[in-house]
Protein backbone atom coordinates (compact mmCIF):
# COMPACT_ATOMS: atom_id res chain seq x y z
CA UNK A 1 0.00 0.00 0.00
CA UNK A 2 2.50 2.68 1.19
CA UNK A 3 1.77 6.25 2.19
CA UNK A 4 3.52 9.18 0.60
CA UNK A 5 3.56 12.87 1.36
CA UNK A 6 5.24 15.97 -0.01
CA UNK A 7 5.29 19.64 0.84
CA UNK A 8 6.66 22.43 -1.31
CA UNK A 9 6.65 25.82 0.40
CA UNK A 10 6.07 29.02 -1.51
CA UNK A 11 5.90 31.18 1.61
CA UNK A 12 9.27 31.69 3.31
CA UNK A 13 7.53 32.29 6.65
CA UNK A 14 6.58 28.59 6.76
CA UNK A 15 10.15 27.34 6.22
CA UNK A 16 11.01 26.91 9.92
CA UNK A 17 7.96 24.63 10.21
CA UNK A 18 8.73 22.36 7.23
CA UNK A 19 10.05 19.43 9.27
CA UNK A 20 7.17 19.60 11.76
CA UNK A 21 4.46 19.88 9.09
CA UNK A 22 5.93 17.11 6.95
CA UNK A 23 6.42 14.70 9.87
CA UNK A 24 2.82 15.25 10.99
CA UNK A 25 1.62 14.51 7.46
CA UNK A 26 3.65 11.30 7.40
CA UNK A 27 2.61 10.17 10.87
CA UNK A 28 -1.03 10.45 9.75
CA UNK A 29 -0.21 8.01 6.95
CA UNK A 30 1.30 5.40 9.30
CA UNK A 31 -1.45 2.83 8.75
CA UNK A 32 -0.67 2.76 5.02
CA UNK A 33 2.73 1.23 5.73
CA UNK A 34 4.22 0.18 9.05
CA UNK A 35 7.45 -1.37 7.73
CA UNK A 36 9.73 1.61 7.44
CA UNK A 37 9.67 5.35 7.02
CA UNK A 38 11.83 8.05 5.57
CA UNK A 39 11.94 11.78 4.97
CA UNK A 40 14.03 13.97 2.68
CA UNK A 41 14.35 17.62 3.66
CA UNK A 42 15.68 20.30 1.34
CA UNK A 43 17.23 22.69 3.80
CA UNK A 44 19.19 25.91 3.59
CA UNK A 45 22.27 25.73 1.39
CA UNK A 46 25.29 28.03 1.23
CA UNK A 47 27.21 28.79 -1.94
CA UNK A 48 29.96 26.24 -2.48
CA UNK A 49 28.81 24.07 0.44
CA UNK A 50 27.68 20.49 0.08
CA UNK A 51 26.47 17.69 2.32
CA UNK A 52 26.30 13.92 2.42
CA UNK A 53 23.85 11.99 4.58
CA UNK A 54 25.31 8.63 5.60
CA UNK A 55 23.92 5.71 7.56
CA UNK A 56 25.61 3.06 9.64
CA UNK A 57 24.35 -0.03 11.45
CA UNK A 58 27.19 0.55 13.93
CA UNK A 59 27.16 4.32 14.37
CA UNK A 60 29.28 4.30 17.55
CA UNK A 61 32.38 2.97 15.86
CA UNK A 62 31.72 4.16 12.29
CA UNK A 63 31.11 7.81 13.19
CA UNK A 64 33.90 8.02 15.80
CA UNK A 65 36.68 10.20 14.45
CA UNK A 66 35.02 10.19 11.03
CA UNK A 67 35.37 13.97 10.52
CA UNK A 68 39.09 14.01 11.18
CA UNK A 69 39.78 10.90 9.11
CA UNK A 70 37.77 12.15 6.14
CA UNK A 71 39.27 15.62 6.36
CA UNK A 72 42.77 14.16 6.28
CA UNK A 73 41.95 11.83 3.39
CA UNK A 74 40.44 14.42 1.03
CA UNK A 75 42.41 17.43 2.25
CA UNK A 76 39.55 19.74 3.13
CA UNK A 77 37.60 20.77 6.19
CA UNK A 78 34.55 18.66 7.02
CA UNK A 79 32.07 18.67 9.87
CA UNK A 80 29.98 15.72 10.99
CA UNK A 81 26.58 16.06 12.64
CA UNK A 82 25.63 12.66 14.08
CA UNK A 83 21.93 11.89 14.46
CA UNK A 84 21.27 8.36 15.73
CA UNK A 85 22.16 5.94 12.92
CA UNK A 86 22.66 8.77 10.41
CA UNK A 87 25.21 11.54 10.10
CA UNK A 88 25.23 14.63 7.92
CA UNK A 89 28.71 15.45 6.65
CA UNK A 90 29.19 19.07 5.55
CA UNK A 91 32.01 19.94 3.20
CA UNK A 92 32.84 21.84 0.01
CA UNK A 93 30.46 20.88 -2.80
CA UNK A 94 33.31 20.11 -5.22
CA UNK A 95 34.60 17.48 -2.78
CA UNK A 96 31.37 15.43 -2.72
CA UNK A 97 32.58 12.74 -5.13
CA UNK A 98 36.02 12.50 -3.52
CA UNK A 99 34.39 12.19 -0.10
CA UNK A 100 32.03 9.48 -1.33
CA UNK A 101 34.96 7.41 -2.60
CA UNK A 102 36.98 8.06 0.55
CA UNK A 103 34.05 6.99 2.74
CA UNK A 104 33.89 3.60 1.02
CA UNK A 105 37.53 3.08 1.90
CA UNK A 106 37.53 4.56 5.41
CA UNK A 107 34.24 3.13 6.64
CA UNK A 108 33.05 0.18 4.56
CA UNK A 109 30.03 -0.21 6.86
CA UNK A 110 28.65 3.19 5.89
CA UNK A 111 25.95 3.71 3.26
CA UNK A 112 25.40 7.01 1.48
CA UNK A 113 21.70 7.95 1.74
CA UNK A 114 21.90 11.15 -0.26
CA UNK A 115 24.19 13.93 -1.31
CA UNK A 116 24.05 17.39 -2.79
CA UNK A 117 23.91 21.03 -1.79
CA UNK A 118 20.62 20.96 0.04
CA UNK A 119 19.09 17.52 0.62
CA UNK A 120 19.30 15.50 3.83
CA UNK A 121 17.71 12.04 3.92
CA UNK A 122 16.75 10.06 7.00
CA UNK A 123 15.18 6.63 6.77
CA UNK A 124 14.90 3.58 8.96
CA UNK A 125 12.82 0.52 9.69
CA UNK A 126 10.02 1.55 12.04
CA UNK A 127 6.99 3.77 12.31
CA UNK A 128 7.07 7.36 11.02
CA UNK A 129 6.60 8.73 14.55
CA UNK A 130 9.69 6.90 15.82
CA UNK A 131 11.77 7.72 12.75
CA UNK A 132 10.84 11.43 12.90
CA UNK A 133 11.63 11.59 16.62
CA UNK A 134 14.89 9.70 16.31
CA UNK A 135 16.28 12.14 13.77
CA UNK A 136 14.70 15.31 15.16
CA UNK A 137 12.88 15.97 11.87
CA UNK A 138 10.27 18.10 13.63
CA UNK A 139 12.84 20.80 14.34
CA UNK A 140 14.21 20.98 10.80
CA UNK A 141 13.54 23.91 8.53
CA UNK A 142 13.64 23.87 4.75
CA UNK A 143 12.00 24.82 1.49
CA UNK A 144 10.45 21.49 0.51
CA UNK A 145 10.51 17.83 1.42
CA UNK A 146 9.01 14.41 0.74
CA UNK A 147 8.24 11.44 2.95
CA UNK A 148 7.25 7.80 2.72
CA UNK A 149 5.90 5.11 4.98
CA UNK A 150 6.34 1.69 3.48
CA UNK A 151 4.40 -1.52 3.13
CA UNK A 152 7.05 -3.70 1.52
CA UNK A 153 5.99 -5.61 -1.60
CA UNK A 154 8.94 -5.88 -3.98
CA UNK A 155 11.96 -6.19 -1.67
CA UNK A 156 13.03 -6.81 1.92
CA UNK A 157 12.13 -4.78 4.99
CA UNK A 158 15.47 -3.13 5.66
CA UNK A 159 16.75 0.40 6.08
CA UNK A 160 17.93 0.25 2.49
CA UNK A 161 14.53 -0.78 1.21
CA UNK A 162 13.03 2.34 2.80
CA UNK A 163 12.28 5.40 0.70
CA UNK A 164 13.21 8.11 -0.33
CA UNK A 165 15.72 6.83 -2.86
CA UNK A 166 18.40 9.21 -3.97
CA UNK A 167 20.49 8.35 -7.01
CA UNK A 168 21.82 11.76 -7.99
CA UNK A 169 22.86 15.00 -6.32
CA UNK A 170 19.90 16.63 -4.56
CA UNK A 171 17.50 14.21 -6.24
CA UNK A 172 15.14 11.90 -4.46
CA UNK A 173 11.97 9.97 -5.08
CA UNK A 174 9.23 8.22 -3.10
CA UNK A 175 6.91 5.69 -4.65
CA UNK A 176 3.56 4.09 -3.93
CA UNK A 177 3.08 1.07 -6.16
CA UNK A 178 5.21 -1.58 -7.79
CA UNK A 179 7.14 -1.70 -11.05
CA UNK A 180 7.03 -4.77 -13.26
CA UNK A 181 10.02 -4.10 -15.53
CA UNK A 182 12.55 -3.01 -12.92
CA UNK A 183 14.93 -5.92 -13.38
CA UNK A 184 15.45 -5.32 -17.06
CA UNK A 185 15.62 -1.57 -16.64
CA UNK A 186 18.20 -2.00 -13.86
CA UNK A 187 20.42 -4.03 -16.22
CA UNK A 188 20.19 -1.31 -18.86
CA UNK A 189 20.96 1.44 -16.37
CA UNK A 190 23.95 -0.49 -14.98
CA UNK A 191 25.26 -0.69 -18.55
CA UNK A 192 24.83 3.06 -18.77
CA UNK A 193 27.05 3.41 -15.69
CA UNK A 194 24.59 3.86 -12.83
CA UNK A 195 25.25 2.36 -9.40
CA UNK A 196 22.63 0.49 -7.39
CA UNK A 197 22.65 -0.13 -3.64
CA UNK A 198 19.55 -2.37 -3.41
CA UNK A 199 17.24 -4.81 -5.23
CA UNK A 200 14.37 -2.39 -4.77
CA UNK A 201 12.13 -1.48 -7.72
CA UNK A 202 11.86 2.14 -6.59
CA UNK A 203 15.60 2.63 -6.73
CA UNK A 204 15.36 1.77 -10.43
CA UNK A 205 12.80 4.52 -10.98
CA UNK A 206 15.00 6.99 -9.11
CA UNK A 207 18.07 5.94 -11.12
CA UNK A 208 16.11 6.15 -14.35
CA UNK A 209 15.22 9.77 -13.62
CA UNK A 210 18.81 10.56 -12.59
CA UNK A 211 19.99 9.08 -15.87
CA UNK A 212 17.55 11.21 -17.88
CA UNK A 213 18.55 14.32 -15.92
CA UNK A 214 22.22 13.56 -16.52
CA UNK A 215 21.43 13.33 -20.23
CA UNK A 216 20.25 16.91 -20.03
CA UNK A 217 16.49 16.55 -19.70
CA UNK A 218 14.73 18.69 -17.13
CA UNK A 219 12.69 16.92 -14.46
CA UNK A 220 9.43 17.52 -16.31
CA UNK A 221 10.78 15.85 -19.46
CA UNK A 222 12.40 13.03 -17.47
CA UNK A 223 9.04 12.26 -15.86
CA UNK A 224 7.36 12.35 -19.30
CA UNK A 225 9.91 9.79 -20.57
CA UNK A 226 9.18 7.66 -17.51
CA UNK A 227 5.57 7.27 -18.65
CA UNK A 228 6.69 5.17 -21.62
CA UNK A 229 9.66 3.37 -20.03
CA UNK A 230 8.42 2.50 -16.53
CA UNK A 231 5.90 -0.31 -16.50
CA UNK A 232 3.73 -0.97 -13.47
CA UNK A 233 1.74 0.93 -10.90
CA UNK A 234 3.11 4.11 -9.50
CA UNK A 235 2.46 7.39 -7.88
CA UNK A 236 5.81 9.17 -7.63
CA UNK A 237 6.68 12.27 -5.70
CA UNK A 238 10.13 13.60 -6.54
CA UNK A 239 12.35 16.34 -5.25
CA UNK A 240 15.24 18.23 -6.81
CA UNK A 241 17.28 21.08 -5.34
CA UNK A 242 14.64 23.63 -6.30
CA UNK A 243 11.77 21.54 -7.62
CA UNK A 244 8.93 19.25 -6.63
CA UNK A 245 7.13 16.90 -9.02
CA UNK A 246 4.28 14.38 -9.03
CA UNK A 247 3.50 11.66 -11.55
CA UNK A 248 0.90 8.87 -11.67
CA UNK A 249 0.87 5.98 -14.13
CA UNK A 250 -1.85 5.86 -16.83
CA UNK A 251 -4.01 3.41 -14.83
CA UNK A 252 -3.70 5.59 -11.71
CA UNK A 253 -5.10 3.18 -9.16
CA UNK A 254 -2.69 4.32 -6.46
CA UNK A 255 -4.36 7.12 -4.56
CA UNK A 256 -3.21 10.72 -4.63
CA UNK A 257 -4.59 14.03 -3.53
CA UNK A 258 -3.04 17.47 -3.84
CA UNK A 259 -3.69 20.87 -2.34
CA UNK A 260 -2.41 24.29 -3.34
CA UNK A 261 -2.61 27.66 -1.62
CA UNK A 262 -0.54 30.85 -1.97
CA UNK A 263 1.69 29.42 0.76
CA UNK A 264 2.38 25.86 -0.43
CA UNK A 265 1.74 22.87 -2.68
CA UNK A 266 1.07 19.67 -0.75
CA UNK A 267 0.72 16.03 -1.73
CA UNK A 268 -0.78 13.15 0.25
CA UNK A 269 -1.86 9.59 -0.45
CA UNK A 270 -5.04 10.54 1.35
CA UNK A 271 -6.76 13.78 2.27
CA UNK A 272 -6.22 12.94 5.96
CA UNK A 273 -2.52 13.73 5.48
CA UNK A 274 -3.35 17.31 4.51
CA UNK A 275 -5.85 18.30 7.20
CA UNK A 276 -3.25 19.73 9.59
CA UNK A 277 -1.79 22.16 7.05
CA UNK A 278 -2.41 25.86 7.64
CA UNK A 279 -5.23 27.25 5.52
CA UNK A 280 -6.21 23.84 4.09
CA UNK A 281 -9.91 24.81 4.44
CA UNK A 282 -9.47 27.31 1.63
CA UNK A 283 -6.94 25.40 -0.47
CA UNK A 284 -7.61 24.19 -4.00
CA UNK A 285 -7.79 20.43 -3.50
CA UNK A 286 -7.72 18.05 -6.47
CA UNK A 287 -6.78 14.57 -7.56
CA UNK A 288 -3.86 14.54 -10.01
CA UNK A 289 -4.75 13.15 -13.44
CA UNK A 290 -3.21 9.89 -14.66
CA UNK A 291 -0.16 10.11 -16.94
CA UNK A 292 0.16 13.83 -16.24
CA UNK A 293 3.31 15.50 -14.97
CA UNK A 294 2.89 18.07 -12.21
CA UNK A 295 5.93 20.14 -11.39
CA UNK A 296 6.72 23.22 -9.32
CA UNK A 297 10.01 25.04 -9.02
CA UNK A 298 11.40 27.82 -6.85
Amino acid sequence: MCGIVGLFLKDKALEPRLGALLSDMLITMTDRGPDSAGIAIYGPSAKGAGKITVQSADPKSDFKGLGAALSKKIGTEVSVDVRATHAVISLAVDKLDAARDALTELRPGITVMGRGESVEIFKEVGLPKDVAERFGIGKMSGTHGIGHTRMATESAVTTFGAHPFSTGPDQCLVHNGSLSNHNNLRRELIKAGLRFETENDTEVAAAYLSHKLAEGQNLGHALESGLSDLDGFYTFVVGTKSGFGVLRDPIACKPAVMAETDEYVAFGSEYRALVGLPGIENARVWEPEPATVYFWEH
Binding site: C253, P255, Y271, V275, E287
Partner: protein, 228 residues
Amino acid sequence: MPSFDLAKVPLRELNQALHNVTAGTNEMDFEVLNPRGAHAVAVGIDAPVNVDVRGNCGYYCAGMNAEATITVHGSVGPGVAENMMSGTVVVKGDASQYAGATGHGGLLVIEGNASSRCGISMKGIDIVVKGNIGHMSAFMAQAGTLVVLGDAGDALGDSLYEAKLFVRGKVKSLGADCVKKKMKPKHLELLAELLKRAGITDVKPEEFTRYGSARQLYNFNIDNADAY
Protein backbone atom coordinates in the same frame (compact mmCIF):
# COMPACT_ATOMS: atom_id res chain seq x y z
CA MET B 1 -30.59 16.15 16.77
CA PRO B 2 -27.69 13.84 17.71
CA SER B 3 -24.40 15.40 16.67
CA PHE B 4 -21.09 13.54 16.54
CA ASP B 5 -17.92 15.60 16.58
CA LEU B 6 -15.28 13.21 15.27
CA ALA B 7 -12.59 15.44 16.75
CA LYS B 8 -13.96 14.36 20.15
CA VAL B 9 -15.66 10.96 19.76
CA PRO B 10 -14.38 7.86 17.98
CA LEU B 11 -15.85 6.99 14.59
CA ARG B 12 -17.08 3.65 15.92
CA GLU B 13 -19.44 5.48 18.26
CA LEU B 14 -21.05 7.29 15.32
CA ASN B 15 -21.47 4.18 13.21
CA GLN B 16 -22.78 2.17 16.17
CA ALA B 17 -25.39 4.87 16.93
CA LEU B 18 -26.47 4.80 13.29
CA HIS B 19 -26.72 1.00 13.37
CA ASN B 20 -28.75 1.15 16.60
CA VAL B 21 -31.58 3.11 14.97
CA THR B 22 -34.77 1.05 15.23
CA ALA B 23 -38.12 1.33 13.45
CA GLY B 24 -40.38 3.99 14.91
CA THR B 25 -37.63 6.13 16.42
CA ASN B 26 -38.02 9.87 16.49
CA GLU B 27 -34.30 10.50 16.18
CA MET B 28 -34.10 10.62 12.41
CA ASP B 29 -31.57 13.41 11.87
CA PHE B 30 -27.87 13.06 12.58
CA GLU B 31 -25.01 15.47 12.13
CA VAL B 32 -21.31 14.62 11.83
CA LEU B 33 -18.68 17.31 12.48
CA ASN B 34 -14.93 17.37 11.78
CA PRO B 35 -14.56 14.18 9.74
CA ARG B 36 -11.11 15.47 8.64
CA GLY B 37 -10.75 12.84 5.93
CA ALA B 38 -11.74 9.91 8.18
CA HIS B 39 -12.50 6.58 6.52
CA ALA B 40 -15.79 4.67 6.68
CA VAL B 41 -17.96 7.56 7.90
CA ALA B 42 -21.66 6.60 8.10
CA VAL B 43 -21.27 3.10 6.66
CA GLY B 44 -23.70 0.23 6.83
CA ILE B 45 -26.82 2.22 7.76
CA ASP B 46 -30.04 0.23 7.42
CA ALA B 47 -32.72 2.78 8.34
CA PRO B 48 -34.33 5.83 6.71
CA VAL B 49 -32.30 8.37 8.71
CA ASN B 50 -30.83 11.65 7.47
CA VAL B 51 -27.12 12.21 8.04
CA ASP B 52 -25.37 15.49 7.33
CA VAL B 53 -21.59 15.19 7.27
CA ARG B 54 -19.91 18.60 7.51
CA GLY B 55 -16.44 18.33 6.01
CA ASN B 56 -14.30 16.10 3.80
CA CYS B 57 -14.26 12.32 4.21
CA GLY B 58 -11.81 9.57 3.26
CA TYR B 59 -12.38 6.07 1.91
CA TYR B 60 -15.74 4.25 1.71
CA CYS B 61 -17.94 7.04 3.03
CA ALA B 62 -21.63 5.99 3.14
CA GLY B 63 -20.73 2.48 2.00
CA MET B 64 -23.35 -0.29 1.94
CA ASN B 65 -26.09 2.27 2.56
CA ALA B 66 -29.70 1.11 2.74
CA GLU B 67 -32.57 3.59 3.03
CA ALA B 68 -30.62 6.48 4.57
CA THR B 69 -30.11 9.91 3.05
CA ILE B 70 -26.51 10.94 3.59
CA THR B 71 -25.25 14.36 2.52
CA VAL B 72 -21.55 15.14 2.61
CA HIS B 73 -20.93 18.89 2.69
CA GLY B 74 -17.41 18.44 1.35
CA SER B 75 -15.41 16.01 -0.78
CA VAL B 76 -14.96 12.27 -0.41
CA GLY B 77 -12.12 9.82 -0.97
CA PRO B 78 -12.18 6.52 -2.88
CA GLY B 79 -15.25 4.27 -2.81
CA VAL B 80 -18.06 6.59 -1.72
CA ALA B 81 -21.41 4.76 -1.50
CA GLU B 82 -19.72 1.52 -2.51
CA ASN B 83 -22.23 -1.33 -2.67
CA MET B 84 -25.18 0.94 -1.82
CA MET B 85 -28.51 -0.94 -1.74
CA SER B 86 -31.01 1.92 -1.52
CA GLY B 87 -31.40 5.45 -0.19
CA THR B 88 -29.61 8.58 -1.35
CA VAL B 89 -26.05 9.84 -1.01
CA VAL B 90 -25.24 13.41 -2.01
CA VAL B 91 -21.66 14.69 -2.21
CA LYS B 92 -21.49 18.48 -2.43
CA GLY B 93 -17.81 18.45 -3.43
CA ASP B 94 -15.68 16.05 -5.50
CA ALA B 95 -15.38 12.27 -5.27
CA SER B 96 -12.25 10.20 -5.72
CA GLN B 97 -11.96 6.82 -7.44
CA TYR B 98 -14.73 4.20 -7.85
CA ALA B 99 -17.66 6.25 -6.59
CA GLY B 100 -20.77 4.08 -6.32
CA ALA B 101 -18.87 0.90 -7.20
CA THR B 102 -20.95 -2.30 -7.22
CA GLY B 103 -24.02 -0.37 -6.03
CA HIS B 104 -27.26 -2.37 -6.24
CA GLY B 105 -29.74 0.49 -5.82
CA GLY B 106 -30.41 3.98 -4.55
CA LEU B 107 -29.21 7.31 -5.89
CA LEU B 108 -25.72 8.80 -5.67
CA VAL B 109 -25.39 12.47 -6.60
CA ILE B 110 -21.94 14.04 -6.92
CA GLU B 111 -22.19 17.78 -7.33
CA GLY B 112 -18.49 18.24 -8.17
CA ASN B 113 -16.30 15.94 -10.26
CA ALA B 114 -15.77 12.22 -9.83
CA SER B 115 -12.42 10.69 -10.73
CA SER B 116 -11.60 7.35 -12.33
CA ARG B 117 -13.75 4.20 -12.33
CA CYS B 118 -16.95 5.96 -11.28
CA GLY B 119 -19.72 3.33 -11.19
CA ILE B 120 -17.37 0.40 -11.79
CA SER B 121 -19.40 -2.84 -11.76
CA MET B 122 -22.59 -0.97 -10.85
CA LYS B 123 -25.52 -3.35 -10.43
CA GLY B 124 -28.60 -1.16 -10.26
CA ILE B 125 -27.52 2.07 -8.59
CA ASP B 126 -28.29 5.41 -10.26
CA ILE B 127 -25.39 7.87 -10.29
CA VAL B 128 -25.64 11.52 -11.30
CA VAL B 129 -22.42 13.54 -11.58
CA LYS B 130 -22.77 17.27 -12.16
CA GLY B 131 -19.10 17.71 -13.13
CA ASN B 132 -16.74 15.42 -15.04
CA ILE B 133 -15.81 11.79 -14.51
CA GLY B 134 -12.41 10.14 -14.94
CA HIS B 135 -11.15 7.21 -16.97
CA MET B 136 -12.65 3.69 -17.03
CA SER B 137 -15.96 4.78 -15.58
CA ALA B 138 -18.81 2.23 -15.62
CA PHE B 139 -16.27 -0.54 -16.28
CA MET B 140 -18.20 -3.85 -16.39
CA ALA B 141 -21.34 -2.07 -15.25
CA GLN B 142 -24.29 -4.43 -15.15
CA ALA B 143 -27.39 -2.40 -14.35
CA GLY B 144 -28.46 1.08 -13.32
CA THR B 145 -27.85 4.50 -14.81
CA LEU B 146 -24.84 6.79 -14.92
CA VAL B 147 -25.62 10.40 -15.82
CA VAL B 148 -22.76 12.83 -16.38
CA LEU B 149 -23.41 16.52 -16.97
CA GLY B 150 -19.74 17.22 -17.79
CA ASP B 151 -17.16 15.20 -19.72
CA ALA B 152 -16.05 11.58 -19.41
CA GLY B 153 -12.44 10.35 -19.47
CA ASP B 154 -10.86 7.47 -21.41
CA ALA B 155 -12.48 4.08 -21.93
CA LEU B 156 -16.01 4.91 -20.80
CA GLY B 157 -18.09 1.79 -20.28
CA ASP B 158 -15.31 -0.70 -20.97
CA SER B 159 -16.74 -4.26 -21.12
CA LEU B 160 -20.16 -2.88 -20.29
CA TYR B 161 -23.15 -5.18 -19.74
CA GLU B 162 -26.56 -3.56 -19.38
CA ALA B 163 -26.14 -0.24 -17.52
CA LYS B 164 -27.36 2.93 -19.24
CA LEU B 165 -24.87 5.76 -19.65
CA PHE B 166 -25.79 9.35 -20.49
CA VAL B 167 -23.10 11.97 -21.01
CA ARG B 168 -23.80 15.62 -21.76
CA GLY B 169 -20.21 16.69 -22.49
CA LYS B 170 -17.36 15.11 -24.43
CA VAL B 171 -16.26 11.50 -24.07
CA LYS B 172 -12.50 11.08 -24.43
CA SER B 173 -12.81 7.51 -25.66
CA LEU B 174 -15.14 4.54 -25.40
CA GLY B 175 -14.01 1.25 -23.88
CA ALA B 176 -14.35 -2.19 -25.47
CA ASP B 177 -17.93 -3.02 -26.47
CA CYS B 178 -19.32 0.39 -25.47
CA VAL B 179 -21.13 2.23 -28.25
CA LYS B 180 -23.14 5.38 -28.82
CA LYS B 181 -26.86 4.62 -28.97
CA LYS B 182 -30.00 6.33 -30.14
CA MET B 183 -31.94 8.27 -27.54
CA LYS B 184 -35.53 6.98 -27.52
CA PRO B 185 -38.51 8.59 -25.76
CA LYS B 186 -38.26 6.08 -22.90
CA HIS B 187 -34.66 7.14 -22.30
CA LEU B 188 -35.59 10.82 -22.27
CA GLU B 189 -38.27 9.99 -19.72
CA LEU B 190 -35.84 8.02 -17.56
CA LEU B 191 -33.31 10.83 -17.74
CA ALA B 192 -35.88 13.53 -16.91
CA GLU B 193 -36.96 11.56 -13.87
CA LEU B 194 -33.38 11.04 -12.67
CA LEU B 195 -32.41 14.69 -13.14
CA LYS B 196 -35.50 15.66 -11.16
CA ARG B 197 -34.59 13.28 -8.34
CA ALA B 198 -31.08 14.75 -8.32
CA GLY B 199 -32.53 18.26 -8.01
CA ILE B 200 -31.28 19.39 -11.42
CA THR B 201 -33.70 21.71 -13.18
CA ASP B 202 -31.59 23.70 -15.62
CA VAL B 203 -30.53 20.82 -17.90
CA LYS B 204 -32.64 19.13 -20.57
CA PRO B 205 -32.54 15.37 -21.27
CA GLU B 206 -32.14 16.13 -24.99
CA GLU B 207 -28.66 17.58 -24.30
CA PHE B 208 -27.27 14.13 -23.45
CA THR B 209 -25.86 11.33 -25.58
CA ARG B 210 -26.69 7.76 -24.68
CA TYR B 211 -24.07 5.02 -24.57
CA GLY B 212 -24.52 1.34 -23.95
CA SER B 213 -23.26 -2.15 -24.62
CA ALA B 214 -22.86 -3.47 -28.17
CA ARG B 215 -23.29 -6.93 -26.56
CA GLN B 216 -20.44 -8.43 -28.53
CA LEU B 217 -18.54 -9.61 -25.44
CA TYR B 218 -21.41 -11.32 -23.60
CA ASN B 219 -20.29 -14.79 -24.59
CA PHE B 220 -16.74 -15.73 -25.39
CA ASN B 221 -16.19 -15.76 -29.11
CA ILE B 222 -12.72 -16.35 -30.45
CA ASP B 223 -13.32 -13.75 -33.17
CA ASN B 224 -13.61 -11.09 -30.44
CA ALA B 225 -10.39 -12.07 -28.65
CA ASP B 226 -8.71 -8.80 -29.60
CA ALA B 227 -11.42 -6.78 -27.91
CA TYR B 228 -11.06 -8.37 -24.47
